[in-house]
Subunit: 145 residues, 2 copies
């Protein structure tokens, strides 16, 4: 009585790939002691020191309260610092600490290994196709809302 079998639902396959991706990345990042969202934040922080939490949230594709949670955990571990902005007193500038940078580099090496293994499963043409198809899917779904 189900109106559409799971195998025909493109969403099922996207979800499965995403689950495998998060699983592989989490396993790879475990030695560095960071989660996937923590790694994403550290990576952007290395590229944009002093960024605001809201802007960082946009880059990482999450909401500000979510980023707040992630940053709280990063700060507890001493991997980031937050200080008030010179002019805009309501803005907090966030930066990596020295230890945070080390952790980021360790995590990045592991994450890149996973990405390279994934990329190696495809030809250059297939990679382009996959990325193009995924981009079109994301656009259609965003427009759907």
């Amino acid at each position: 009585m189900t109106s559409m079998p799971p195998e025909e639902r493109i969403g099922s396959h996207v979800k499965r790939a995403e689950q495998a991706l998060v699983g592989a990345k989490n396993a790879a990042l475990k030695p560095a002691g960071v989660t996937v969202p923590q790694y994403a934040a550290l990576l952007w922080l290395a590229e944009k020191p002093g960024i605001s939490a809201a802007a960082l949230a946009r880059l990482c594709g999450v909401t500000p309260p979510t980023m707040n949670t992630v940053l709280k955990n990063l700060q507890e571990r001493g991997w980031i610092e937050r200080s008030p902005h010179e002019w805009h007193r309501n803005v907090l500038e966030t930066r990596l600490t020295a230890e945070g940078r080390l952790v980021m580099e360790l995590a990045d090496a592991a994450a890149v290994r996973v990405e390279r293994a994934l990329a190696a499963a495809f030809s250059a043409e297939e990679r382009e196709q996959l990325i193009a198809l995924l981009g079109r899917a994301a656009d259609v779904l965003d427009a759907q809302r």
Copy 2:
């Protein structure tokens, strides 16, 4: 100083598509009052009445404690029932209630609308390609662990 730009990371594109998918599905399911994981559980329960929580977890691609959380919320709303198995006393059989079936059908209609809109963005050949490429990605990533 980053070793691999985000656009070249296939994972970035998979993640973005998955986020758009969950966003669109959550928006579509909101009128029915269910979340995406709740909908997935209700859908499988309609097809396999009396299934165990562990088996349901496998079908939905989550761990048993996660499914436990989802089922607890579904039970609080009166959409499922759980009763001890006749022989295996340690197993709880889970079934939809009448109201749960109605909610599932309402949610399913909305979810299928999203899937059809997504599928409409591709030709038959493109759909097959996308599914095949995603499947290969998932296999490679699972093997990576």
